[in-house]
């Protein structure tokens, strides 16, 4: 409403979503260094060696570190970007099923090439993943089962086959030291030059596709029926997206592992979904959050002397999500709490203002000051409370304090706002009794709430409908802000005597 210092607060927050993002980043940086002590315990490292490890990582001199970090960043970007489409299409579980369904393909690729050949594993995994999604579609179309059951079936079935195959491979003479077990929980340190090339290719294809087909992906995701009517090949777009997702999942397997790779699809996208209301920004944010979680997970894994990377990446992503959940500019829990708090502060302040006005009104505006005692008595509070409330008014420029006789003097702003509130209250009471035929002794509570939120144009409309009435249902005058400025306290005789009760 007309109180600039109050409305400014939510705006400041809303116009700076990046401020929140920055805060989050700082929080994460702090987090990145905080667990060092913890990691020392886990990896039985001294604080010193943690520091050297961190330096080794950050200086990027070690080629293994460079591969691991580059791979983690790339997988974060492609998973975040494509995961955003899963989240808005409500296909999050498809990502989960897809990521588990690739495991038999990984094992088959390994068995076929007899080594950890990235290309063979990639092809095997993509085929298995797509087979998984096709089986889901098939179950959905030929039986009465719905999507969730079909996904659950495929996820568990394919994963079980994969686990059996992986165990068999580990029993083979060549398989024992192959590192196939790393595909379960992920190890960024195992990323080699071949893996990295593959990951770069996948990230490139993902980014290029989203850039080139943004409008097709958007319309097919938002309103498939409409897209089909406008001639877009919705089914082809869906399968293209699934193929890309399979690429992203498979390229991320090495670092994140089969078990948790779906979290890298969902978590950054879910955080981004809370942070913005526009698709293109959500894509950017999801890719960015994916990047940060990837890099951070890789770093933490390195600090903890090769703890599994997947869980650490997912933990980083989840921390970012928690940040978005709490501090997102519009949907954040803390943000909303804070807005609510500032709103209830405003309402308390406005109620004090109103009380001061009512005290003045009751003595027909003889004398300008209201003492703390008068305020306390009227509000049935202690003197301390009253003084605290008065200082709150002073802080918002609604009043000044006369220090000697301890009285409150309203400033022009304060008087204006007070008159508006009293007017809103009495107008609303009158409206309820007239238009809704509610008895006069039922309307006070309602008006107590509505007086703080009535906008100027609504007030105009109310005044018009009530024929510019000047007396409320209890017989008290309805003041108008301008008249008060003109008349002020020096012309009390214009007003009829005050009403009864409080």
């Amino acid at each position: 409403m007309n109180c600039p210092s109050l409305t400014a607060e939510p705006w400041r927050l809303r116009s700076h979503p990046w401020f929140t993002a920055l805060l989050l980043l700082l929080f994460l940086l702090a987090l990145a260094f905080a667990p060092s002590a913890e990691a020392a315990k886990i990896g039985e490292l001294s604080v010193n060696s943690v520091r050297t490890q961190a330096l080794r990582f950050l200086s990027l001199q070690d080629p293994a570190v460079r591969y691991a970090l580059a791979g983690s960043v790339l997988l974060g970007i492609s998973c975040g970007l494509l995961g955003a489409f899963l989240v808005v299409r409500r296909l999050a579980l498809v990502g989960d099923a897809l990521s588990h369904a690739v495991l038999p393909g990984v094992a088959a690729g390994f068995l076929w090439s007899q080594t950890k050949d990235p290309v063979a594993i990639f092809i095997g995994a993509v085929i298995a993943g797509l087979l998984g999604t096709l089986v889901v579609e098939g179950i959905k179309q030929t039986t009465r089962l719905k999507e969730d059951a079909a996904l659950g079936l495929v996820l568990a079935g394919f994963y079980a086959v994969g686990i059996c195959l992986v165990t068999m491979i580990q029993r083979l003479p060549t398989g024992a030291k192959s590192g196939i077990d790393k595909f379960l929980f992920g190890q960024a340190a195992a990323i080699g030059p071949g893996d990295l090339k593959l990951m770069a290719a996948v990230a490139f294809v993902a980014i290029a596709t989203v850039l080139a087909f943004y409008k097709e992906l958007l319309v097919a995701s938002f309103d498939p029926a409409f897209a089909r009517s406008a001639g877009f090949p919705v089914r082809a777009i869906h399968y293209a997206l699934m193929l890309l997702l399979a690429f992203a999942v498979v390229s991320a397997l090495q670092a994140v592992g089969v078990v948790l790779v779906s979290a890298m699809l969902i978590t950054p996208a879910a955080a981004a979904y809370l942070l913005t209301d526009r698709m293109h920004r959500m894509l950017l944010l999801a890719a960015g959050i994916g990047l940060v979680s990837g890099a951070l997970g890789c770093f933490l894994s390195f600090l903890g002397s090769n703890l599994p990377t997947g869980p650490l990446m997912v933990l980083s992503g989840s921390t970012l999500f928690a940040g978005a959940f709490l501090f997102a500019p519009r949907h954040g829990v803390v943000t909303r709490w804070w807005l609510h708090r500032s709103r209830s502060g405003r309402i308390r302040r406005e109620n004090t203002l109103k009380t001061v006005y009512r005290i003045l009104e009751d003595r027909q505006f003889h004398g300008d000051g209201v003492t703390f005692r008068e305020l306390a008595e009227r509000r049935r509070e202690t003197m301390e409370d009253a003084e605290c409330q008065a200082r709150e008014l002073v802080r918002h420029n609604f009043a000044s304090l006369h220090s000697v006789d301890r009285t409150i003097l309203l400033t022009p702003d304060g008087r204006q706002r007070a008159v508006e509130l009293v007017r809103n209250h009495r107008l609303w009471e009158l409206y309820l009794t007239h238009a809704a035929h509610i008895p006069a002794d039922h309307v006070h509570e309602d008006a107590e709430r509505i007086e703080h939120v009535l906008g100027e144009d609504v007030v105009r409309e109310l005044e018009r409908r009530l024929n510019y009435a000047d007396t409320d249902p209890h017989g008290r005058p309805i003041p108008t802000p301008n008249a008060v400025h003109a008349a002020g306290p020096s012309e009390p005789d214009r007003r009829p005597p005050a009403g009864y009760g409080r």
Binding site: V88, V219, F222, D223, A225, F226, A227, F232
Partner: protein
Amino acid sequence: MNTPAPETPAPPLEIHDLTVAYQRRPVLWGVDLVVPPGKLVGIIGPNGAGKSTLIKACMGVVPIAGGWVRIFGSPLGRAHRRVGYVPQRESVDWDFPVNVMDLVLMGRYGKLGLFRRPSRADRDIARDCLEKVGMLPYANRQIANLSGGQQQRVFLARALAQESDLYFMDEPFAGVDAATEAAIVTLLHELRDRGRTILVVHHDLPTARNYFDMLLLLNLRRVAFGPTDEVFTYELLQKTYGGRLTILSEVAEAVRQRG
């Protein structure tokens, strides 16, 4: 199959012996229909009569089991640009991260080629369409913050932005306030007066009589089609809504069970 004679312009919509089935259960049987240009046509029938299915089949949104559909004389695949669509409001997720402007711009997508983004001209068109439905002040609002009537107006603006010659609208009056309903009716009449053909799936019998030039009475198959005055009779409505056609759905059930 007889093709229309070359000298007469092809009708906006021609349906011949159209059958549509969901999981082998027919929901539309052998529908024939020729809609003349510049008409506002209401599609009326009880729940489950296949009204939405009919218009979805016309646009290729659901597959056709038998028969054919021609739009301005050409098969579906080549006519998409001349067709506009207002789906049911509940068919989309209103929490989707787009604002009103983004949504209306989607109406322009079908006219853009591959790799093309909406241009300034497209934005101007979208803005005009928003203004026509009285939603321009809400252009930057997230769609989740709209009321039901506002959502329907935005959907209508998107269809207007398609600048089509033939429109299909699926219950545009469902769950909207009286003011929005009146505004939509006015817009539909304007479109009709500019020579557009509009098919509207409609639920409310009393208003149907006043809103539409022609009515299609539908219950699994075509009951009647013609000018509102001729078709809106007790006998035909009784035939559409009454129990006489239940035999059809029983046959449909039997076909499904035999699989």
